[in-house]
């Protein structure tokens, strides 16, 4: 296997170059997917036979929840890479992705609460999924808070990496225990996201929205990372050249 690719990944300049080339593509893909998906989902997809039009919030809720969860996995992967291979770019990714993940979790919670009103008649129920998302939000807060509390940059990166890994080991345990707690306290009520066999016209726009959210996530992550890399490397010659060229 050729490892030069992997080692190049550690170079901030290489990252800045390549991400600059990828960024427009992700942005275009994101805009296309999101606009097609939302127009399709909000105007053309059929109504749900039980929930009517209110079900359409899944076109925001589900993608946000997906991205929020995979973002945490990404944090842990970045943490492992940072601790094992001491790759500085992984530190940058960890630091930049955490707030995006927290926002996505927040969006998922907010849309879930809005959805709850027409479905359950109240903004908040201790539904297993919503509760898990709430805990995920707290996990994100922990990572962000720890990163900000430690002033030394390397120490802070390593500590958050360890915390992210510990969190990822715990997430399945938390998820199962919450699911199980939920069945114990609210025996099999109406579950909104586990629809038996959603018709194609409904899930296809959902798929587009999910992909669109991932593209949006990638774009914002790359933009944040590029800025952070420039800030960290501001003394080097290549950054000065980049800045001169753009100004």
């Amino acid at each position: 296997m050729n490892w030069s690719f992997f080692h190049k990944l550690g170079s901030p300049k290489w990252f800045h170059d390549i991400s600059g080339r990828w960024l427009p593509w992700f942005a275009v893909a994101g805009v296309l997917l999101l606009s097609v998906g939302s127009v399709w989902g909000l105007f053309f997809a059929p109504e749900d036979y039980q929930q009517g039009n209110s079900f359409r919030i899944i076109y925001i809720h589900v993608p946000a929840a997906f991205v929020a969860q995979s973002c945490y996995m990404m944090l842990a992967v970045a943490g492992i890479v940072s601790l094992v291979w001491r790759m500085k770019l992984a530190d940058v990714a960890l630091k930049c992705a955490a707030p995006i993940g927290a926002w996505m979790t927040f969006v998922a919670l907010l849309t879930g609460a809005i959805w709850g009103k027409p479905t359950w008649g109240t903004y908040w129920v201790w539904d297993a999924r919503l509760t898990s998302m709430l805990i995920l939000l707290f996990l994100y807060f922990g990572i962000i808070a720890l990163g900000q509390a430690i002033s030394n940059r390397e120490t802070s990166a390593k500590a958050t990496a360890v915390l992210a890994i510990v969190g990822v080991v715990n997430i399945p345990i938390i998820k199962y225990s919450v699911d199980w707690w939920n069945t114990l306290h609210q025996p099999a009520t109406f579950k909104i996201t586990e629809k038996p066999a959603m018709p194609v016209e409904m899930w296809l726009p959902l798929l587009l929205m999910v992909l669109g959210f991932y593209a949006l996530f990638t774009v914002s992550l790359l933009m944040r990372m590029r800025l952070e890399v420039l800030r960290r490397e501001h003394k080097t010659r290549w950054v000065r050249e980049v800045l001169e060229k753009s100004s």
Binding site: R86, S151, N152, R153, R232, K235
Partner: protein, 211 residues
Amino acid sequence: MKPLPVELDSLACERDQRELFASLSLRLEPGEILQVAGPNGSGKTSLLRIMAGLLPASAGEIHYGGRSVFHGAGQEDWRRHRLFIGHAPAVKGALTAEENLSWLCALSEPVAVEAIWQALEQVGLRGFEDIPCHNLSAGQHRRVALARLYLERHPVWILDEPFTAIDKAGVAALEKHIVKHAALGGMVIMTTHHGLEHLPGVRQLDMGQLN
């Protein structure tokens, strides 16, 4: 235990985006005393902490007997051979001098109580063996920590400001002990603002003049 040669190979240290030193290369033979000097903030303590294994170097290598001390068998050897006494003396106030030393030595190799008492006598703490250390002065705390130099058999000593808070007689005794350790083939790497010119065979590394 005889030490092996220590080699620093283009070692670099960066703390909070500030380069403290870079491409520091140096070879130390058994029997040498190295005084790391330089102004405050020049990276003396960081160099010692990197050598001890507390701080990762941002670039470069340290070899002990030709093997890297950052991993593998070289690291194992290095861990057993080097003794680090830092700014903080690692002395617990709630424990007596004897209890403190007994635990600190056990971290590498347990020692007998009689040996501890002898060592305490040599650092001038006779009669203070079983008094909780929070009743001792700062200089006496330091002496408790330094008693390890009389107890443990590490051939390489890494000492960060060992003379802090110690009176003249104590400094003289410690200097004598350091010279004796080097004469027996041991190696000493230390920072101090105290002049060591009168000691035989002390090498100077001036961190202020590196860059």
